[in-house]
Assembly symmetry: C2
Homo-oligomer: 361 residues x 2
């Protein structure tokens, strides 16, 4: 019996927030963040494999990461790796992947996942997806996963839930999407019980998401519709190389989710973090009695507190008197920075690029 | 005309105080401390060459550093490098070197120098040595160089001057040697005008220092006297390998200088530092407007003050909020430590060795 369930893993992101632990040529999703021997991308694949077989997993990434993906995921066959010739955010990526999968299987339903998140409760995660797939298989609906908020986090977008769907516990109509709130608003969201963190995980049937593109994002739809008949054939690559960079750079949230009227949310509590910042990493990592986190290095810390040591390679770090710091190193770059000021790191990376060149970022 | 002036440069020290900038296999004297392209040892040789020709410069070092010495000082011929088979402090080193030189030249006078100090006023340094050599050539006297103290430094030994020597301005009899004083005593020393920093630089005739060994350190003298007739011959190495490690490990100060009654001091002001600590390095290095010192690396520092960045290799360091820190790295070890607590670094190195092994020190 043919398996109509597909998974698209988006793994083309750059992620300069973890510089220099992550680097241009090896961004976050390819790093063994927790010293488990598996990168975040590998963990993402491991997590979905009990639900969706390897031959139905499609990776979409930037062409510059083709080598590292083959190295990290030899179980994914070559034809399942879609290489974007340019960076155009998530909407064009998702549109291409849907066309590709629809060409393989007109009845396909798709789980779309980021490649660089942490999920601690994997069984529950799969149960949530299982039920979500069941829902979208029988419906023209676009389903997103909303996480029960654990704190008034100002780094996430929020989804407000509306009316619950009968027979599908935990699935509701989406009332609104909101941008990252300020702290006061985030507290109101948290207390209301109506708002959930926007996870960036989506479920839909291939045909239905393409219908939504046609209706809400015709400027993208037009580009990829022109390739009908070429997807999942030897001519696909040449077509994509010709047209892809003409697509606008826009997220799926802006392009579709915030506009469509058939958007639903499955609420979940799966031990999730987007690992979007050193602070998030710090909060989700095991800490020693002084509150220090060690990522893949040997540390002798005297009177250090709440400090993250993330250094690649077989290295010893001796530190004293650091309170709330990031100590991160990779290859030819070393960062020693207060965690509380981590929002400045993007700017720092730009400064480094400008003053010292691409070789250090 | 034969040149009877010789220089012995002692370059076998380990120096764990600058770990990890200095390492077991590349201690301080072999490092390009100031980013000038020359190591401290090379600078020591460069400094003495206008006074004493390369063929009269003898290097005494541990046998494990033979390779790095040949690499750094190709101008010193093989037979001028004396390789100690064991670490025995300065007295046995000096005794051996004196025997070696006496065998080459019975009229030799010797300038003995450490290899890891900084001297800013090189012309004055050579003038001081010139006059010192003139003094010891015509006298059975042991001459040490005493530096005019610039602060009540508690990290140096002090020499108290006695009666001045006629016809040799700045040369006095030594009244006493003192150990490193506490701060209060150091202040008294400084104000008295009678006390000078003990530099570890010595001048004497080869025959006279060996006489002093015979009289004050017979347990060392006995060992090396047994080799008479073998020094500066092909049999010297085999003899030294047999006997050297039976010598006691003792400094020249304890073994001879503090006991002998023919000890003199030439006082000098030559911009000297023993670079014995990060603080000393900090004080002698050029600083930027925030008081930060950068040794051979690229640094982007935000709100850092009075911090030393000493990182080897082509590396960028981004740091924020450090005040009075050492950031030092070499190969597989990184140190981030308050300068004010640098006296703990020796212990730290021991801890690292114990917990993680020799490979990190």
């Amino acid at each position: 019996m043919k398996n109509h369930r597909y998974c698209v893993i988006m793994c083309g992101g750059v992620g300069s927030r973890f510089w220099p632990f992550s680097r241009n040529d090896r961004p976050k999703q390819f790093l063994d963040f927790f010293g488990t021997g598996r990168s975040l991308l590998q963990m993402t694949v491991d997590r979905i494999l009990p639900l969706i077989p390897a031959e139905n997993i499609i990776l979409v990434t930037n062409s510059s990461y083709a080598g590292i993906i083959r190295e990290q995921l030899p179980e994914i066959r070559e034809s399942n790796i879609l290489l974007e010739p340019a960076r155009r955010n998530t909407a064009p990526c998702i549109c291409w992947a849907a066309h590709h999968i629809l060409a393989l299987d007109p009845e396909a339903s798709i789980v779309t996942l980021p490649s660089d998140h942490l999920i601690l409760k994997e069984e529950e995660f799969r149960a949530v997806l299982e039920e979500g797939i069941r829902f979208v298989e029988g419906n023209n609906s676009l389903l997103t996963i909303g996480l029960r908020p654990l704190s008034p986090h100002t780094g996430y977008g929020y989804i407000q839930i509306g009316a619950p769907v009968e027979d599908f516990p935990g699935i509701c109509k989406v009332k609104s999407f909101t941008e990252k709130p300020d702290l006061e608003l985030a507290k109101v969201f948290l207390e209301s019980g109506e708002f959930f963190w926007n996870s960036g995980m989506f479920l839909w049937r291939a045909d239905n998401i393409l219908k939504a593109f046609g209706r809400y994002a015709p400027e993208i739809s037009g580009i990829f519709d022109a390739g009908k008949g070429l997807y999942a054939t030897p001519d696909e690559t040449r077509f994509i190389e010709k047209v892809f960079s003409s697509a606008p750079s826009i997220s799926i949230d802006y392009a579709i989710m915030e506009k469509a009227d058939n958007v639903f949310v499955k609420t979940a509590d799966i031990g999730w973090s987007d690992l979007g910042s050193w602070k998030a990493l710090y909060e989700t990592s095991p800490r020693n009695q002084d509150g220090n986190v060690t990522q893949g290095c040997k540390v002798l810390a005297h009177q250090c507190r709440d400090t993250v040591f993330a250094v690649t390679g077989d290295k010893i770090i001796v530190a004293a008197g650091l309170d709330g710091y990031i100590v991160a190193e990779n290859d030819n770059a070393l960062l020693i920075y207060p965690i509380g000021e981590e929002q400045k790191i993007r700017q720092v990376v730009n400064d480094v690029r400008e003053r010292f060149g691409e070789g250090y970022v």
